[in-house]
Symmetry: none
C-alpha cells in the first residue's frame, strides 16, 4: 500500500496498476478474515482497499474470481516426504488442517465452495482449479507406488478423491481440530485397501 500521506493511488497509465491489485487482494483477505464470508462484499473490499468498485470489477468479473485469486496467493501447504505412505498422508492432512485453521486459507476456501453453489463462474473456476493440477494426494500416492508400497492396479485418482473429500467435509463442518488418531484411523482404512501385499 502507499506509504506516507498519499491518500489515493493514481493511475499509472493505460495499464493495470499492481499497487491497486495488491491492495484489493489484501483487503479482500482482511475482510474475509474479519467479517467472514457473510460480511464479504465487493463494497466492503473497495472501502477497505480505498479503491473504486469499478476498479475491482474491471479485473475480477465476479466475487468468485476475486476469492480464487486470493486463495491462490496463499502460501501452499507442505507435503511431507517421510518415505512411508501412511505418514505422508496423515502428515499432509494434519498440515492441511492446521493451515486451514491458522491462516485465512480455510475461510477463503470455504467461501469459494459456498460461492460455487450459487455462482456458475465460481463453480467453473473451482472445477478448473481442482482438475487443473495433480492433487497433492495423487503425488503422495504416486511416490509410494514407486517405492512399491501400493498394490498393482490401484488407481490413485479415486484415492485422492476420497482423501480430498474427507478434508473438504471437515472444513465445511468445522471439524478441522481432528486429532491425529482420528485422521490416522480414516486414512488407515483407505490405505489398507490399497496396500501392496506384505506392506
Amino acid at each position: 500500500m502507499a506509504e506516507d500521506a498519499d491518500p489515493a493511488r493514481r493511475s499509472i497509465g493505460a495499464r493495470r496498476n499492481p499497487d491497486s491489485a495488491g491492495a484489493i487482494l489484501e483487503a479482500a483477505e482482511a475482510v474475509l478474515v474479519e467479517a467472514g464470508y457473510s460480511g464479504f462484499s465487493i463494497e466492503a473490499v473497495a472501502r477497505r482497499a480505498r479503491a473504486g468498485k469499478p476498479t475491482i470489477y474491471r479485473w475480477w468479473p465476479s466475487k468468485a474470481a476475486l476469492l480464487l485469486e486470493v486463495y491462490k496467493r496463499q502460501k501452499r501447504v507442505d507435503i511431507p516426504d517421510t518415505g512411508r505412505l501412511e505418514e505422508d498422508l496423515v502428515g499432509f492432512l494434519q498440515n492441511l488442517f492446521k493451515h486451514w485453521r491458522e491462516t485465512s486459507s480455510g475461510s477463503i476456501f470455504r467461501s469459494l465452495i459456498a460461492e460455487a453453489q450459487s455462482d456458475e463462474t465460481a463453480s467453473a473456476a473451482l472445477a478448473e482449479y481442482a482438475l487443473g493440477r495433480p492433487s497433492h494426494t495423487v503425488q503422495i500416492v504416486e511416490r509410494a507406488r514407486q517405492r512399491g508400497e501400493v498394490a498393482e492396479g490401484v488407481d490413485s485418482a479415486p484415492v485422492a478423491d476420497l482423501i480430498s473429500s474427507y478434508a473438504w467435509r471437515h472444513l465445511l463442518t468445522n471439524r478441522l481440530d481432528q486429532d491425529e488418531q482420528s485422521i490416522r484411523k480414516a486414512v488407515g482404512y483407505v490405505l489398507r485397501g490399497i496396500a501392496a501385499p506384505g506392506n
Copy 2:
C-alpha cells in the same frame, strides 16, 4: 393450497394456518428448483406462496431453518439390503446420487451446505442433523459387521465419514453422474481396508 378461486388465504384465527405453512414449504422447494440457490430468497418464497414475509419469519427464523425443513420433507433415499457390504454401499451411493440428481433434494442439500458456510444457525442445524442420527452408512456397516463381513476393531464412524464425504464432494462439484464403476472402485478401496480376513 386454498380451494376454489380465492387467490388469497385468509387467517384462520389465532393459530398457525397449516395451509400457509404447506404453501410456503412447497413454494420454497419450487423456487429452489426453478431459480436455484442463487435465486432463493425469502422474498421470492413469500411472493410465490402468496404469504407475507413476517409469516415466514415467524415460523422459520432463518433461511437455513426453512431450507432444513424443506429438506426434511423430502422422501428419503432407499437403503439397499443385499446381504453383501459392497453391494449395499455401492447401491446406496447410486441411489443417493440418483435421488439428488432427479429430485430437488440435491439442490436443497447443496443450498443448505452453502448456507451453513455463512450462517451460524444453518451450520448448527446441519451439524445437529448430521450427528443426531446414525448415518445410513453406519447402519449398513453395522449390518455387515453382524454378518461378520467387517474386521474386528473397525470403527464404523470414520468409514461413514469417508463415504459421506465422498458423496458430499460429488454433490458440491456437480459430479453426481458418476458411473457405477467409479463408485465401486472408490468404495472398494475403503472396503478392502476394513474387510474381515477372508472376505
Copy 3:
C-alpha cells in the same frame, strides 16, 4: 422530522408513512437550496432525510416527480387585484420574481425545467402542470376583460404565453432582479396591443 433522540423512523405498517414523505420533501428542498441542481441527487436526498433510496423510488418514480412535488408544496405567489390590468400584471411579475428570488421556488422550478430537457417524465409532468390549470396571467386578463379593459376578440392564452415566457427566460438567465420600470415597459407593449379602444 422525528423529535428527540429517535434516530430512525420506524415503519407504521402497510401504508405510507407521512413522516418519511415529509422528511424526504424537506430534505429535497434543503439539498436543492444548499447544493443547487447540480448537487441534487436522490442519494443526497436520501442521506439528508435519513431515508432509504427505495423509499424515495417507491413514491417518486423519478427525480422530476420529486422536484415537482417539492415545487407544489411551496407557498403560492400572490396575485394582485388592483382593478387595473397593467398594475395587476406588473405586480404579479414583481411578486413572482421576488418569490423566485427569495424562496427556494426559483431554484426548484429552474431545476424542473432543466430536468425536463433530458427526462421524458419530467417533460410530461411539466407540461401537465402547465396546462392543467388556468395560468395566473389568464386569470388576470379574464378579470380585466370583465371590466372592459380588453379589446374584443383578444385571446388570453397567447397573452399568458408571452408573459409566462418572459418570466421563464428571466428565471433561466438569472435576471430576476429586473426593476419595475423594465417589467412595466415589456408588459406595456403587450398591453397596448390588447387594450380595448379608449383604454
Copy 4:
C-alpha cells in the same frame, strides 16, 4: 478524418490537430442528435470520435464549452426582409422554429440552456452569447423603425426579450410545431403595442 484504413488519428506534433477537433465536434453533434441531451456525455463523444477523453478536456474545459462550440458551428437561421415588420417577425419565428425542429440546433440549444442551469460556465457562456450581439429581433425592429413602422420612444430591447422568450419557451416545452396563426396572434399583440400611429 484519417485516410485509408488507419483507424486512429495520430498526433501531428506539438499543436492542435484539426482533424481531431473536427471529429470531436461532429461526434458531439451526432451523439446529441441520436441519444439526446440525457445520453450526451464526454465519454460517449470520445468513443464516437475515436478520441481520448483528455483530448476533449484539453480543448473544451466543460461540457458546456463543447456544446457552445457545437451550437456556434450550426448554420444560422435566415432573417426575412419583407419590408413589413409583422411579416418579418412571424417569418423569423417560423424560420427559427423550423430550423430548431429540422436540424440538430434545437437539441443543442435546449441542452445548452439545461446545462446552464447547473453549470456556471455554461450560464456565463450563454449570457455572453445572448448579450454579446444584437439579437435578430432587435435588428428586425430597428429596420422597421427606420421605415417608420415603430412608434417613437419604443425600446427594441424589451420587444426582443418578449419575442426571444416566446421562442425559448416553445423550444423548452416541445411546442415548435406551432402553426402560423398562433405565432401571428402572439406577435400581433406585441406589434400593436409598439406600432406607430396609423400603422
